[in-house]
Symmetry: C2
Amino acid sequence: MIQGFDPRTGQSVGEPVAETSDAAVDAIVAEAVAALPVWAGSARRADALEAVADALDARVGELVAIADAETALGVERLTGEVARTTGQLRLFADVVREGGYHDAVVSPAAGAAPSIGRVNRAIGPVAVFAASNFPFAFSVAGGDTASALAAGCPVVVKAHEGHPRTSELTASLVSAALAAAGAPAGTFALVHGVQAGPRLLRHPLIAAAGFTGSTTGGLALARICAERPLPIPFFGELGSVNPVVVLPGAAFATPGGIATGYAASLTLGAGQFCTNPGLLFAPEDVGLLTAIGEAVSASSGGPMLSERIFAAYQTAVAEAEAHPGVTRLAAGQPGEGPWGATPHVFKTTLKEFAADLPVLSRERFGPAGLVVTYDSLEDLALVLGALPGNLVGTFQVDTGSAEDVEAARQVIPVLERIAGRVVCNGWPTGVAVVAAQQHGGPYPATTDAHFTSVGTAAIWRWLIPVAYQNFPPELLPPAFS
Amino acid sequence: MIQGFDPRTGQSVGEPVAETSDAAVDAIVAEAVAALPVWAGSARRADALEAVADALDARVGELVAIADAETALGVERLTGEVARTTGQLRLFADVVREGGYHDAVVSPAAGAAPSIGRVNRAIGPVAVFAASNFPFAFSVAGGDTASALAAGCPVVVKAHEGHPRTSELTASLVSAALAAAGAPAGTFALVHGVQAGPRLLRHPLIAAAGFTGSTTGGLALARICAERPLPIPFFGELGSVNPVVVLPGAAFATPGGIATGYAASLTLGAGQFCTNPGLLFAPEDVGLLTAIGEAVSASSGGPMLSERIFAAYQTAVAEAEAHPGVTRLAAGQPGEGPWGATPHVFKTTLKEFAADLPVLSRERFGPAGLVVTYDSLEDLALVLGALPGNLVGTFQVDTGSAEDVEAARQVIPVLERIAGRVVCNGWPTGVAVVAAQQHGGPYPATTDAHFTSVGTAAIWRWLIPVAYQNFPPELLPPAFS
């Protein structure tokens, strides 16, 4: 049985949910396979996605209350997250209607070359592994589900054990809305349990998988996909430390604004974001460091999502604290409850950092930051370039200073190589759901840097091209007409 | 040392070529890394690709003579292959000039959402593993090299040991043309030897790899890429049996044309094509089977590329011959020399085939075909659907027969699921280099069905997106302007 817990008390909350048996997983996949041609060929997919969005919006109060009890992320944040989730579903409905995702290309016959038309098809039934830290936007009806359904793929979601009741309610609303909108049975299903996930991934008729979560968990699932008799693509969004570079002019011009912006981004949602700014590179500037110390001292943590996440955070903080090259810069107020995280900021020099880069560049999931001071942009660029892949790289620049803009030109080519998104004068947390978004990046930020898991381009993960050579018009797929 | 051999005699030909040492491989990759920003940012890439094409065309006679001595593929075929190779280079020059590969997308700021612009960048230095069966088009200056160079990626080619002197001459022409066109040193290099390949793939600064060859070889290299501390994408084009379905109406209407087309496709280039029609599904029609027997009996084999390939072919033929469910339909004339392949066609029923599908659906690289007779389209569709992934699926239909067209509608949905390209009333061999081409398909045809290795879309393998958030115009990459 899967039992939810209230992070504010550490006590169980709600009735437990049954784990899905192997036989039930197999039956669910068989139903998804049967649904594939109907769903992929349906002219009503866009309407169905909107019906799901409406169904979730109609029950937002109840969804948020259950999710808040299971995650302690707060009513305001969770209400906004439901809106983002239903907004994503409606955005993908627009994508389906617009039709560009078919990417139909025709090369007419020419000389000895035959006519060829290429068009995308749905890859097949998709397994989606829900994340703990976004109980709506990266969970049962989140971005992976919305993009895969939009592509024409039936979806089987493996629920995250951190919010079982939220997952159940969401899934029941999704299933009912899809059925009412005419989607075939098997278009969507939810499974629970530590056995159900691998069972799902190993099923020969699952065609691809999406995952948002830890590097350790993601790598284990990626290995299962790679070692199948017929390997399948695994789109994992794993760990990231999201380096922020404060350029000298910006540090001098706006230390207070940078410090408060940093502390807010670092402690947002108790630091439980894959885009959390774990590393900040700053000039050895007393004003900025003092301001950061003050801002973080004034900050508060929050209850973490689970005992396991809290324990891992404590270990990660202790590791940084015990490191000989690292000193404490500041700590904030502990969060509520037995799993309440305390914000921490540590400090080291670029030289110390470079000397133990694999340890000091580790993701510390939660509100813990490491400030790395640099005195040479050349050295900084070298160290940045040695970092593992990230979802986001950020820089703070004084655009009024020609020297700082020149410094930015030195840093950008490194950031765009180690991150999927580069942010100027902003913070990495907050991911806009738009056409140009790239929520991806080199390994280990993701397992495939060609794709994004946020924004409309997320649909491309679930589509593969087929070429039709020398076809009479009446046998070509409808996407060509 | 790597020694070339003449397949017509089995004797060594030309001077041996030295293997590349580990230190030399590392130095070559370091040079490629240094070349990356210059080459990726160069406005002269298109000119440089055309200069390479011109340089190869200018020496076509010499290239073909050396390649013919090392591969015995014949002057006519090899001359055509050089033209295809230089045509590919010029096509990619057009792609670079046209600029669409940047795929620049802008989402303007709206409400709380910041402005985001997304654009593709070159993934980094690429390792290309040359194939034996296309000493030009899938070798040193072949499609992988052309598409990666077009994307802005420096390329290091691991030469195929089957044609070392052809590889050397091609590489010297490519290097000289690139240098004369202003490309930085390190844009292109060639390595030789069984140690050099894995050394290259394991180099931490190689960013991706392309491969065309056997399933066994490809899987070994794929595993190296996956097991690196930082895994990299591996685009492998591995094995394929390319099923052909002859529908009842076509079998009845044009048995002679189908039989001669099949025999020609099966024996083309001594059957040494990844698109060879290894399986043919036909109704139990005495006229068609007789015609196939006659066409194959009248066909001739040819010298195979190497002793190893010839030995593997002999083993594969013996396996089919010894199979209890299989009978011999016909054999052609043996090819020239000690490694001369003899065309073979075997016959079985759909029921026998389905009973031992993993063995009977194996690729038999060379001019060996298995004809599988069916008597029910429903059973045929089930068996086709159980085949592993393929580069091509073909059907022969009598478009004048409503019944046959209806039969095609039953078969197409299966073929488009198990193959990257579906051919109507043609043969799988012959891959047009055009925008709409899809030379890919589900595993094991390729290791990533999202991409193609032939045609202009092959460039997408070597590009990954980066998003720029809240950037002032002066700091955005030139692709946005």
